[in-house]
C-alpha cells in the first residue's frame, strides 16, 4: 500500500477539529463524538483518493461522522432494549433530523482546544488529548511519538476524557475573565509538544510523528482563531525561529552542535523570514509577554550572519525585560549567558552564583553546563572540567550527555 495522499491527509487534519467541534457542541459527549469523527476520517482516507475529494469536504465528513454517532447510539439503545426487553421508538428520529446542520461556527474549534487543555487535566493528558482531538492524530501515532505503548496512550486519553466529563465542563467558551488564563494554558501545552519534538533524540524511525511540526501547525491554527492575541503570535514566531535551526543542531553522527558552532547556511531561511515578520508585526502592537520576548531574542540570533556578529547587548536588554515580567531561574540562567557575552565570563559567573542556593541547583543540569562553559572561557579549565562532568551525570538527555562528556574530555584534569 502506498502512503496516503499528502494533500488529502493535510485537508483531513485541518477539518478534523472543526467536525469534532461541531458534533461536540451539539451533543456534548466528547468521547462518542471523537470516535465518530475518527470513523469519518477513516472513511475519507479510503474513499477520497479513489473517488475524488468531495466538493464540500467538511459537510461530507460531518454527515458521515454524524451518521456514525447516530448508528452508535442506535446500536447502544438496541442492546439496552434487548437487555431490558423494553421497546420505545423515540429519539432516533430526532437525531436523524439533526443531520441537517446549521452553518458551522468557527468558535467550535477554539472551544475544543480549550476543553482539551482543561485545567482539571495533568499536562501529559492535555498534550495527548490535544494531539488526538485537535491534531487529528491516531492514538498509535501519538504513542509512537512519545515512545510509550499504544495501550498506555489509549488509557491516558480515555481517562482524560472521563476527567473532563466529571469536571462538568460544558462545550462552551470560558467566561471572559477566564479566557486569558485558558489561552496561557493552551500556549503552554503547545510549547510542551514543540519541546518534546525539539529535544527528542531523533531516531531514524519513519513512523514517529514530528511533534515540532505538529505544534507549529496547531499554533498557526490558534493564531487564525485568536488573531488579536500577541502571545499566540509570539509563540508561533518563537517556534518557527527555533525550529529553523534544527538542520544545523546535530552533525551527521547525531552529535549536538551548539548555537555558536552551527553552520548557519543550513538554517531554514523561509521559517526565519516568517518568524521575523511575525515578531516585527507583533511587537509594540500588543501588550508584551514572555513568548514575544523570547521570540525577539531568537530573532536576534537568527538574524546574525555569524556567531560573533550576534547583537548580545540587545539580547541582554530583552532578558532584563523578561526577568522583570516573568522572573524564573531559567531566565536568570539565560541572562547570565548574555551577561557573559557583553561584560565577560566573570560577570556571567557572578550572576550564576545567585542561583546556587535555589531550586535550579538541585534539579537541573543546566546550571552546571552553563557554569562549565563560562569557567572554560575564564581560563579555569580544571573547574570547568568538573562542572561538565557534574552536568553530564545529571542530564536526562543522551545527546546532551554525550556532548558534555566530550567537552570534559578535551580539558586537562585538575591537579
Amino acid at each position: 500500500m502506498s502512503g496516503p495522499d499528502r494533500s488529502v491527509d493535510d485537508l483531513l487534519r485541518e477539518l478534523a477539529p472543526r467536525v469534532l467541534g461541531r458534533l461536540a457542541r451539539r451533543y456534548g459527549q466528547l468521547d462518542a463524538c471523537e470516535d465518530a469523527t475518527q470513523e469519518a476520517l477513516l472513511a475519507a482516507l479510503t474513499r477520497w483518493p479513489a473517488d475524488g475529494t468531495p466538493d464540500r469536504p467538511e459537510a461530507w465528513l460531518y454527515t458521515v461522522a454524524h451518521r456514525s454517532l447516530v448508528d452508535h447510539w442506535r446500536s447502544d439503545r438496541a442492546r439496552r432494549q434487548r437487555e431490558e426487553r423494553a421497546a420505545d421508538p423515540g429519539d432516533a428520529r430526532l437525531l436523524e433530523a439533526a443531520v441537517e446542520e446549521r452553518s458551522p461556527d468557527a468558535d467550535d474549534t477554539l472551544v475544543l482546544v480549550f476543553l482539551c487543555c482543561h485545567p482539571a487535566l495533568a499536562p501529559t493528558a492535555q498534550v495527548a488529548l490535544t494531539l488526538r482531538a485537535v491534531g487529528g492524530l491516531t492514538t498509535r501515532e501519538i504513542a509512537a511519538a512519545f515512545l510509550v505503548p499504544e495501550a498506555t496512550m489509549a488509557k491516558r486519553i480515555t481517562r482524560a476524557k472521563q476527567q473532563i466529563a466529571q469536571s462538568g465542563a460544558g462545550f462552551e467558551l470560558p467566561a471572559a475573565d477566564d479566557v486569558v488564563d485558558r489561552v496561557r494554558a493552551v500556549l503552554s501545552v503547545l510549547y510542551l509538544i514543540f519541546n518534546e519534538g525539539y529535544t527528542a533524540t531523533s531516531g531514524p524511525d519513519l513512523h514517529r510523528v514530528d511533534l515540532s511540526s505538529e505544534a507549529i501547525r496547531l499554533a498557526r491554527l490558534l493564531r487564525r482563531l485568536l488573531p488579536a492575541d500577541g502571545e499566540v503570535a509570539g509563540l508561533l514566531a518563537l517556534m518557527l525561529l527555533t525550529d529553523a535551526r534544527r538542520p544545523a543542531r546535530t552533525d551527521p553522527d547525531g552529535a549536538l552542535v551548539p548555537l555558536e558552532d552551527q553552520d548557519r547556511s543550513l538554517w531554514d531561511s523561509s521559517a526565519i523570514r516568517e518568524g521575523l515578520a511575525l515578531v516585527s508585526d507583533t511587537l509594540g502592537r500588543f501588550p508584551v509577554g514572555p513568548y514575544q520576548l523570547q521570540a525577539a531574542i531568537a530573532a536576534l540570533h537568527d538574524e546574525a550572519p555569524t556567531a560573533d556578529a550576534t547583537d548580545w547587548p540587545q539580547i541582554l536588554a530583552l532578558y532584563d525585560t523578561l526577568e522583570r515580567i516573568a522572573p524564573s531561574p531559567m531566565v536568570t540562567l539565560s541572562r547570565a549567558v548574555a551577561m557573559a557575552n557583553v561584560h565577560g565570563p566573570t560577570a556571567g559567573l557572578a550572576l550564576l552564583g545567585t542561583l546556587d542556593d535555589g531550586d535550579l541547583a538541585s534539579r537541573s543540569h543546566r546550571l552546571d553546563a552553563v557554569r562549565a562553559h563560562l569557567l572554560e572561557r575564564a581560563g579555569d579549565v580544571g573547574a570547568a572540567r568538573d562542572a561538565y562532568l557534574r552536568s553530564a551525570r545529571a542530564t536526562a538527555s543522551l545527546p546532551e550527555q554525550r556532548y558534555l562528556q566530550l567537552k570534559a574530555s578535551r580539558l586537562p584534569r585538575r591537579s
Binding site: 531514524p204 524511525d205 545529571a394 550527555q401 578535551r410
Partner: protein, 119 residues
C-alpha cells in the same frame, strides 16, 4: 528468543583517561549498533538510564520503606543501559562482544522469560 544485553557503569568511570577521539568512537559505535539492530528488525527496545549517581534506592528501614540517595549497587556495577533484541543467543553474544571489544568493560546477556500475553 528475546535477550537483554546490559551495560554497566557511570559517566565518570567509563570516561576516565580516555581521549575525545576514543569517546567519539564509542558514541559512534553505540549509535551505529542501535541503527543496525533497528534496521534488521532485531531490536525490541533499547534504553539508556540516567547516571547511577542520580539514582534513589528505596530501602526497608525501621519497618518501613525509606527512599535514600544513590544506586543499589556500586556505581560501576549499576545498570547503565540495555538492548532487548529478538535473535539467537549466538547473535546476542556477538552484539555484546562488539561493544566489549571497544569499551573493555564487561556486559551481561540474559534471556527474557516467556510469559502469556497480557490482556
Amino acid at each position: 528468543m528475546k535477550y537483554m544485553i546490559m551495560m554497566f557503569g557511570g559517566v565518570g568511570a567509563s570516561l576516565e583517561g580516555r581521549s575525545p577521539e576514543w569517546i567519539s568512537g564509542m558514541h559512534a559505535l553505540l549509535v551505529g549498533l542501535d541503527a543496525q539492530l533497528r534496521e534488521s528488525g532485531e531490536l525490541v527496545d533499547s534504553q539508556k538510564l540516567i547516571d547511577p549517581t542520580e539514582a534513589k534506592t528505596v530501602r526497608f528501614v525501621d519497618a518501613k520503606a525509606v527512599p535514600t540517595d544513590g544506586p543499589f549497587a556500586e556505581v560501576k556495577e549499576s545498570l547503565a543501559g540495555y538492548w532487548i533484541i529478538e535473535a539467537s543467543e549466538e547473535r546476542a553474544l556477538e552484539v555484546a562482544a562488539r561493544c566489549v571489544d571497544y569499551i573493555g568493560f564487561p556486559m551481561e546477556v540474559r534471556q527474557i522469560m516467556d510469559q502469556p500475553p497480557s490482556t
